[in-house]
């Protein structure tokens, strides 16, 4: 797999991180090495596993009960600006997610 500066920029955008030009170059080189390494090894194990039996077990489930979290104050003490109970962020542009 080829990894270059464009790859790094694309990934940084996805991960909401920013890097300087120099850092981007450095990361591209490092990643290329890492993925080359993955390639070398994984080739040896390319034979697929046998059919796995369908997993079995019990679901881990919780009863549908309301248990309010006691301490609102503690829960929100780490939130920066708040207004009338809402958290405040810079205006979100009309951009639907999903």
């Amino acid at each position: 797999m080829k990894v270059d500066e464009n790859t790094i920029r694309y990934l940084a955008g996805l991960a909401k991180l920013e890097f300087s030009g120099e850092e981007t170059t450095r990361l591209a080189e490092e990643f290329q090495k890492i993925f080359d390494h993955f390639e070398n090894i994984s080739g040896a194990y390319s034979k697929m596993m046998d059919e796995k039996p369908e997993p079995a077990g019990e679901s881990v489930l919780r009863k549908d009960e309301v248990k309010p979290f006691g301490s609102r104050q503690e829960l929100f003490r780490n939130a920066k600006p708040m207004r009338n109970g809402f958290l405040v962020v810079p205006k979100v542009l009309e951009q639907e997610k999903k």
């Binding site: 079995a56 679901s59 881990v60 549908d64 829960l75 405040v88 810079p90």
Partner: protein, 496 residues
Amino acid sequence: MKQKVKGSQPADGNHLFETVIGLEIHAELNTKSKIFCSCSTRFGNRPNENTCPVCMGLPGTLPVLNKEAVRLAARAGTALHCSVNRVSRFDRKNYFYPDLPKAYQITQYDLPLCEFGYLDIETGQDRPNGTRRTHRIGISRIHLEEDAGKLIHPEGETVTLLDYNRAGVPLIEIVTEPDMRSPEEAVAFLKALKSILEYTEVSDCRMEQGSLRCDVNLSVREMGKTDFGTKVEIKNLNSFREIQRALAAEGERQKKQYCSGGPDSILPETRRWDNGRGRTVTMRSKEGNQDYRYFPDPDLPPVFLDRSLLCPMRNGIPELPEQKKERFLREYGLNPYEAGLLTGEKALAGYYEEVVGFGVDSREAAHWILDELLRIRKEAGNREIPVKSRYLADLIQKIGEGRISRNTGKDVLMEMVVTRKAPGEIIREKGLSQISDPAELQKIIRGVLSRNTDAAQDYKKGSAKAIGFLMGQIMKASRGKANPNLARVLLEELLS
């Protein structure tokens, strides 16, 4: 699957088009607590009141699945004829948005809970044998996922406010096959779906409260073709009516575009419905195909369906709308329109049967509920049925016995709604009893005839209008209390 229609020359306006519609619906489940934590799901609490470290995505927190959410989703799947998978799994859908506390949504991507179902809708046409023609709309999947919080954009400000009460509320996402062919079919599907989800008590389905949300996608193609055209998604639809309008508008837009620029000129995109302007608009800065980096959520083991989760409601799955409607047609001699309206809402159907259960004629009951009660309820603006079933039955019986006239009955009904009193009490208090005693009526009639000899003469000469006039006078003289049928009979006797 979706290939573009080949050829890039614009089609001429003579080509017939087919619109192809699919729906993506989200319904909030009727659980008490959220899907992965024990916060309340109650609507309308103060902002950020129903929150805890888990649904706020605080560091170190972990999700634990709500059993009832699985049950309800499985029940929905069963009611919609899906196969409910014995093993299903949760995945993470990764993206950044302020209403998403963990920066990923826990959903089901690879192995959803339910698949391959359907819902039959009526097309409004009849078959040769008189039964309704139905169209089977495929349901490709139903899966569980968590809801996100809410963003509020105060007017004229540079900030956005966040409320996480809704974050973590359990949702089912229902994805249909692109089997609908008109806006009307889409709405018919949604109404039928809503009905089923209400009946099975899976969801409230209130679009106005956001417990039912729907995005649509639409493409056009030339009639007769089997390939799919370019699909356009439409968001921001807040009612069935908006959905219908939006689909109609978008269908037109695409057809025009097809004719002027060819099929390839229709861009695959997401558009927003602008209700004010009555059209769809391109959404700003669409990021192209979002890279959600789905992978199985390592914090949640697979969901194994066992009998206790598939067991629907305590007394089994209730009679579903389709069956109930058939039964109403048979048992109560109603017409399809009446039966459809009455069974469209579970509570209403139940109410109707209660009223009939008191011994009232089934057609009369249908009339009073559909023509009077529903109108009153709509004007009141809430969903509550404003009169006890026992009282309504009583009222209908009194009218049937001739104690009050139909018109008086309508007034009494209004009074019943306002005061919540029994009909008998109101009739007594207001002295509204109809005069049904022949002797008393004859006295009134004689009085009217004596004062209106001309009219009596006209009648004898053959004027039909005269009877109407005389009846009017009789009602006036009796302050509306004369039993009209009896009065008419007696009048005619006296005149002859």
